[in-house]
Symmetry: D2
Subunit: 372 residues, 4 copies
């Protein structure tokens, strides 16, 4: 049984403290606190590192096993020098044995490795998969975009989608959304759900390089990335296209066609998505978006005239949105900014864990970015 006051310990809640301080303090004296033991598989990668950065700030978590593939046997500090409190932890080999015996296991593994590991873990263990294996519902999509046999579909860790929280509340398995699908879906869901736009949307998302992970490819070298912009996976060739299509189609209740182009830009973190579609009528999109996200702790529609920047969400779990109408063309344009490693990956994983365990949804998560 979990201690609400502990939620007050999270940095993000600093702003909400005043009104709740007394009740909080009173309740603190009568509850017993239990710590959640977590493990992270793939702790030497970018997603794993961001999970640990967030979990170190989580009031209810104790960090257990850290595992890796090729880096097993080395100190975490060699790979994640920014995680000082864990620098001397030695990485274990990624095996079910090493991960077993924890309340929560986060998987930050290459595609295709999650199902086998999860199958060996105790049924009661909450398994949160940051990989793609369990995101797609249609095995045909999996086969076309990733190839091979589909591992099956898990509850989808995008709580802001209609009905998602109910499913996550009872979940012991969670599929964390991809970074592009997260920002694209949140940018367009209210519009397609309320039929504001025709079911054909165009998304061009500019991303930092950490989304590609630590893979040693020439085009990811600093010398290649800095001072350059490159598009890739153009013409619907990127694996996140079917995931965005799936999300928006579910929300719309009908097939939504998605033209998606990712662009690689010279920054480590952040995605800025420009999303457009033809308006069906003259409804005011702004009021629809205001209603849709009024109660969401992490999705913020900016005041009119202010546009999102990725720097403003760096390291935070917030999504910043702005909507406008191109009157000449009768098109809706939504711009959204997210940190691909936080709300785009690790933050969504922690947010989903909080819901699944009945913790306050914002525990250990912040809406404050690190800027400049």
């Amino acid at each position: 049984m979990w201690a609400p006051p502990l939620e007050r310990r999270t940095p993000v809640s600093g702003a909400f403290l005043a009104d709740t301080r007394l009740s909080e303090f009173a309740s603190q004296c009568i509850i017993i606190h239990m710590t959640i033991r977590i493990a992270v598989a793939g702790a030497s990668g970018y997603a794993g590192g961001e999970l640990l950065r967030l979990l170190l700030a989580h009031p209810d978590v104790e960090i257990g096993a850290l595992t890796a593939g090729g880096n097993a046997g080395s100190r975490l500090g060699e790979h994640q020098p920014h995680l000082l409190p864990l620098a001397d932890r030695v990485l274990a080999e990624t095996t079910a044995a090493a991960l077993d015996g924890h309340d929560v296991v986060f998987l930050a593994l290459p595609h295709g490795h999650s199902a086998a590991i999860a199958a060996e873990l105790a049924p009661g263990t909450l398994v949160v998969d940051c990989g793609a294996d369990h995101r797609l519902t249609d095995p045909a999509d999996w086969d076309r975009w990733y190839g091979g046999e589909h591992a099956g579909h898990w509850p989808y860790g995008l709580p802001e989608l209609p009905g998602a929280r109910d499913i996550l509340r009872s979940a012991t398995r969670v599929a964390v959304p991809g970074c592009y699908p997260t920002v694209s879906t949140l940018a367009l869901a209210p519009a397609v759900q309320h039929g504001l736009v025709e079911p054909e949307v165009v998304v061009v998302a500019v991303s930092g390089t950490s989304g590609a992970g630590k893979s040693l490819k020439p085009h990811l070298l600093g010398s290649e990335v800095m001072g350059s912009l490159r598009a890739y996976g153009v013409g619907g060739a990127h694996r996140h296209t079917p995931e965005i299509t799936q999300n928006l189609s579910v929300v719309a209740g009908k097939r939504v066609a998605v033209s998606f182009t990712p662009v690689l830009a010279p920054l480590p973190r952040g995605i800025l998505a420009t999303c457009g579609a033809r308006l069906t009528g003259s409804d005011d999109p702004r009021s629809v978006y205001e209603k849709a996200y009024a109660d969401e702790p992490f999705v913020h529609l900016l005041p009119e005239g202010q546009w999102p920047t990725t720097a403003a969400v760096l390291g935070s779990n917030a999504v910043q949105l702005q909507v406008t109408v191109d009157a000449d063309l009768g098109r809706l344009v939504v711009v959204a900014a997210v940190d691909n490693l936080t709300k785009g990956t690790a933050g969504a994983a922690v947010q989903s864990m909080n819901i699944a365990l009945g913790l306050p949804e914002t525990a250990g998560l912040s809406t404050v970015g690190v800027a400049p």
Copy 2:
């Protein structure tokens, strides 16, 4: 046996020499060469600096007056430390008197200043305006997007447009296109000209910061720009929207609707434009683009599978293009990369000058970028 004058004229054109060597060498033996005296107004800004960088490498040009506004009286080296051969030149006040008496005057001034200066220059002087004043044909567009009285329309310095070279050949006034319109127009012109796509196009163009000039605005500070992405002028609010619309509509012979969104990214130079539109039929866009640009010295359709990067065109006058079809959506997607200061501004100005003066079009211009 080898022709010194020739290979020496334009090192950059090495690639195109072979076929023309003999005839040109012959001509060398009978012509007397006159050097062209040029002046640059706005020499301390980014466009002015790039003009001078290119003109220093131009075989037929002698650099005359350099003028500025607030920086008049100071050494060029204080503002353009990369232009060593001109470092000790002192900037004159921007006046018609200072600019008169040159064969060519390049204007790199804030919007609204070109017409008055040009009116005072000798009629025979070739005036090349890098500003927006003379780009738009419709006074109503000028009034809506820039405000005030329209200075009139000059021959448009985008030689790759159908018929443009004929107009430029006899021109004494040239309006250099905007950087976004250059890359967007070249990316979509063949498609709209041949009716491959419906007359509604979506352009999202990611740009480096030099396009904004040296203006001292907080959002252009290095601390704000680095590590961040920001959209601006969203929803058709950017002044380049009517220029792109004008270009594509002329090429298509009918109104083309343009949804244009610019995104600011952390690099000094370069624009990567992602351009899409719904296909009208099943023609093969690639062959259309191959034919359209087969003879263009500066527009390069890349081999299938290779995507443009801005680093590959840094400091060069080349445009790199790739086209593909999103079969699921029946959409054409074209990605184009350009250096906003070279082909996007100063290179187009020099290319236009070359045509207007009957010089080889590639004189002083390069298709070789500076990378990494």
Copy 3:
């Protein structure tokens, strides 16, 4: 009277929770918590923004008045879009009246403005000055490097210096060190204190651009900064030279000569200082540094062979150090990394506040960086 257990609520302490949980929980039931009301003058600048980012995560703080100069009257969100919980706060004019009535007032003002404001505040108010006004002890130094009358010397907010904590514990006024002096002093203090090196040191410190603040100067524009490196204040001309000299001379008990050169590099945050001096003997510097910083929560000597990076301390209050000996030259070389806005400014301010108020020194501060 303050509540130690609350310190456990801070993210950074996640790593220290296990052993202290029970005693903490027990103690929690018997104390009364009181919140500290703070004000920030200069809230729209970089130092002010970082102060607020940290204070939002501080368990014992309530954020009161936010003031500014030219930006007074506007929403904080216009200037600090990353501070979502405070976005709608309106900035007041920076006056003593606006700042009065708070337990702590942080001053992040241009040089020369602190003394007058501080004089008008209630004597009991803790005033923490992030500016330079009260750092130098010698009025002659002030006059030479800043000019004008010296405002006097306040307790110096570098707790890691010998004896500093005792002075800070009873302080109602604190002068926060400059960013370069912080990293340079911590890198060299153990060596000069124990006479490991001759009293002439050479420091070359490479810095991100935020140290220059939001000042609108051409050389700070993104287009100028990105892709470039520039030295400035060379030859002992930088105002931080006398501060470093003062610190090291006090620690050494004799005059230490400091050759200091700052270099501006294309990143928003972070300073990497390379510090060298000739060794006096054959003592092992490493063991001296290990002892010197063994109990310091924020200064970390890295394992042999691992070198500091600024990314590893981004947004954290940690300093990462490595020491080595150049045997051929008999020189000590120390490399240190710090975030100029956190431990280099705002983090030191909060750390000093914690000490002055008897709070746990690490309250609201983290040793976890945001990387990559």
Copy 4:
């Protein structure tokens, strides 16, 4: 009346033409020009790419064989998309057979591969080695810093060193200096040659990432490099230390001790070196440097008060210098900027070739940088 062959030979040398025009024009009229056939081994790497970028602009060169190791068999355009005129060239395997039959062979190979290849080439072939194999004169240094048997010493391609041009004029083998040694040596040579400083110098050189080549190492990934600074090879551990020591000791006529620390910064190109030493007397260093470099086409002492930036020399063969005296310490401080790939590698190779072949030293080289 104007001299076509001349102004056309080297646009970049426009600044130096005036005085030599007539005599050169005269010579043009009586000589038959032969084109120099060159080959580049390692054409897919950064040094190879920069060599080709410069050679494409060289008036007297024809580009022959391009070879590679692992990339043999692929199009150059896949690896060097910025070299459009050569995009369709297919890379041959790096063998003596492929490289033979050229007037000049440039070697841009990993250390240890040059000697074997060179031994198989015709004795008359000019071999310019961009690697380290033939830089060091002392086999013991080679064995200590690189290991294994010393390949021997070749004429050193730093023409600005006293006497260097005489040696290069008759050379058929050239060892191109390392990038750090180039900038460090040029920054300090006048001071040590004229005994202005004590023979112990401290160099901290901040570099872009391309100096590390295209090697696929995690710390060179864009995500790691951007937003970070890291020192490496600290304490005299970098292989360029003995080369700098060798250069300065030869110039000084006695052993000069060098404390060298390289720092990796987030930019692709450029090195900024801060170099200091204790002054021996009160001579005016500035006048010594003015004299030393008065006639050098590529080394520029900036006007007092102006400091070098790497952006100003990007893609150019120029070195920008500034000298000052720290009067408090009696130290000389010299700051120098260079492009590590141009003057730091490929530009020096071309400059050395020009001298060895009796071409104008500046042929194909520019003192104009690409900025911003």
